[in-house]
């Protein structure tokens, strides 16, 4: 177990140190907000960003420029579909209908991305830019203005039961890690040519990574819906870049093959905690933005320097 923890530390580098420091600072500054009684709401507040970061990770791990910038708009699309179309128009309110429907939407969009990026072989950033624009446009068309409310059980997912969707996400990833698929994914991410010559179906493995990203993004979209308790057409897009920043912060290599979803989640928690510290100082959103950027650049620089000193022979 200790070697597993050591591995996590090596992979996430400074993100985990940052996490501990920020958590300590938060406990001192915002004792009430971080009191165990408030954990439900606190986790609910952090959940959409964690979800978005975790969702962005699988395609990045798959390598060769793999990236999905449509994660944010997909969250917004799921938000709009679940509330406006499925709940308010079609009257579906049961979690046993809404959750599978949301996951299906996410999986379908992920499959489209995967088809474009792996079968048609359009560069992933361009392919997902296409879906980014389409999803943003369609979301605004089906939902021109914010509308509510969300069903009660869904709102509870941002309060008392806020840990549940996150646990479900990580349980799903825990299962994936135990499949041969995981080794194939990491092998392709490190060196797809070598993996191909070893007989791995590169196209299929990458395609599944995109579908996984879509499904995870749908979960993130549900968590976002739970948090805002309504539907808002303009809220999703903002998550894309910050999620990619969280992934990089968490030690996932954008070149693929290195890192994991736990790192991505830690990166997202870092950003959330930083936000929490800075807002408790009542700083403006401008300072917040400078701090995001500075922490992001500083963290990737420190991680890179640390890696270089760890492997001097490779310089």
């Amino acid at each position: 177990m200790s070697s597993r923890l050591g591995g996590l530390f090596r992979n996430t580098g400074f993100a985990i140190i940052l996490l501990i420091v920020l958590l300590a600072v938060n406990l001192v500054l915002n004792a009430a907000r971080f009191h165990p009684a408030a954990w439900g709401a606190l986790i609910g507040l952090a959940a959409p960003l964690i979800g978005a970061a975790v969702a962005s990770a699988p395609v990045i791990l798959a390598g060769r420029g793999g990236i999905d910038i449509s994660v944010g708009p997909l969250m917004g699309f799921v938000n709009a579909m679940v509330i406006q179309v499925l709940f308010l128009k079609l009257g579906m309110s049961s979690p046993f209908l809404l959750v599978p429907a949301a996951l299906l939407i996410g999986g379908a969009v992920g499959a489209v991305n995967g088809f474009l990026a792996t079968v048609v072989r359009i560069q992933p950033i361009v392919a997902t830019l296409g879906t980014y624009l389409v999803l943003t446009g369609v979301t605004l068309t089906i939902l021109p203005a914010p509308i509510g409310p969300a069903p009660g059980w869904l709102k509870a997912m941002a309060g008392t039961w806020s840990a549940l969707p996150l646990i479900a996400l990580f349980a799903a990833w825990w299962i994936v890690r135990r499949l041969p698929y995981y080794d194939q994914l990491m092998a392709i991410g490190s060196d797809d040519r070598a993996a191909y010559t070893a007989g791995i179906d590169v196209t299929k493995v990458r395609f599944i990574a995109y579908v996984m990203t879509g499904v995870f993004a749908a979960v993130a979209g549900l968590m976002l819906t739970a948090l805002i308790g309504s539907a808002d057409p303009n809220i999703g897009q903002a998550y894309t870049l910050i999620a990619i920043a969280a992934v990089a912060l968490g030690g996932v290599s954008l070149a693929g093959g290195r890192g994991g979803l736990a790192g991505a989640a830690i990166g997202a928690i870092d950003i959330f905690l930083l936000q929490s510290v800075l807002t408790s100082f009542n700083v403006s959103t401008y300072v917040l933005q400078i701090a995001y950027g500075a922490i992001l650049v500083a963290a990737v620089i420190l991680t890179a320097v640390q890696e270089r000193s760890a492997r001097p022979e490779e310089i």
Partner: protein
């Protein structure tokens, strides 16, 4: 069929196809929308395309190098707001321009240095510095930028302006000259050859005595320079400063470069292709708005069209073809 495939796989072929598509789109627009080819409409399209073309110069160079620059929209906003603010503080406008452009180039050089020297993906570095730059500008102006552009800059990019006897503002002929210079720079100078060499084989280029760090710093600072120029031109175009004025250029510059036939893995692409991409994007946008599409529908259609175009001629090789 084999001929078409060979045409599409060559860089020149892709550029040609992109220009043909732009022409076809213009033809469709002229047939479908009355007034689409009226002098005023063409003038407006030329100005809008020129602004995008300037902003895309840097993205083209960076993509040939094998990088990507997400800081372009933030640098555009930075130059836009800072130039207006300083000019409003009664600075000489020439001094303002030099100050803004030098500062932008320093930011760009920082991007290039960090990304290459420490081997960090440029997407993350440029996103991070972009956020810092935008936050700093907002903090400085407290979110309410003031000031405006001198009349000369406005006349330079005004849709109603004229360049001597010609019925278009000076920005259009200036862009033609600038484009020729950029194409020359890429095709006929040591810098251009080093750029392609480093982009197509980052491992071998240093063995040919190309200093990767220096090249990355130079190229990213050029990218920031042209983004800042766009910001100042946009100040003249819209008349007042606005920090988010560059946001549409984030994805548009990437789309223009890719539609123009460049590969994001580096080593391939040309500024002529980017110009074709710029024309295609401007035509699509004008066409869809002219057909009465809502902004949301324009955006969605733009997404579909970019994907369709790139799937015609921008496909990557299968992994089995790279061994």
């Amino acid at each position: 069929m084999a001929n078409i495939q060979r045409l599409l796989s060559s860089t020149n072929g892709r550029v040609l196809v992109a220009f043909v598509i732009a022409g076809l789109l213009h033809l469709i627009g002229t047939l479908a929308i009355p007034g689409y080819s009226s002098p005023f409409a063409i003038r407006a399209m030329l100005v809008i395309a020129s602004l995008l073309a300037v902003a895309s110069i840097g993205q083209t160079l960076v993509v040939i190098l094998g990088g990507i620059d997400l800081s372009i929209p933030f640098i555009i906003g930075f130059a836009n707001v800072v130039a207006a603010q300083l000019y409003g503080n009664e600075w000489n406008f020439a001094v303002v321009c030099v100050f803004v452009l030098v500062l932008a180039m320093l930011i760009g050089a920082f991007n290039g240095y960090i990304a290459r020297r420490l081997d960090i993906h440029p997407l993350i570095v440029t996103l991070g510095t972009g956020m810092i730059v935008q936050g700093s500008v907002l903090l400085w102006t407290k979110g309410f930028p003031s000031g405006s552009a001198p009349a000369e800059v406005s006349a330079f990019v005004s849709i109603g302006g004229s360049a001597g006897p010609f019925p278009f503002p000076w920005v259009v002929p200036s862009l033609v000259v600038l484009s020729a210079l950029i194409i020359l720079l890429l095709a006929r100078t040591p810098y251009g050859r080093r750029l392609y060499a480093l982009g197509s084989n980052p491992g071998a280029a240093p063995l040919a005595l190309i200093d990767p760090v220096k090249m990355w710093m130079l190229t990213f600072s050029l990218s920031a320079l042209f983004a800042a120029v766009t910001g100042i031109l946009l100040l003249g175009f819209t008349g007042s400063a606005y920090g988010d004025v560059g946001q549409p250029y984030l994805f548009q510059t990437i789309a223009a470069v890719v539609v123009g036939g460049a590969a994001l893995v580096g080593g391939r692409g040309s500024y002529l292709g980017t110009l074709a991409g710029v024309l295609v994007l401007t035509e699509i946008n004008t066409l869809l708005i002219g057909l009465g599409f809502q902004p949301a529908a324009v955006q969605a259609s733009l997404g579909v069209i970019i994907v369709l175009l790139v799937s015609i001629y921008g496909r990557e090789r299968h992994v089995s073809a790279t061994i």
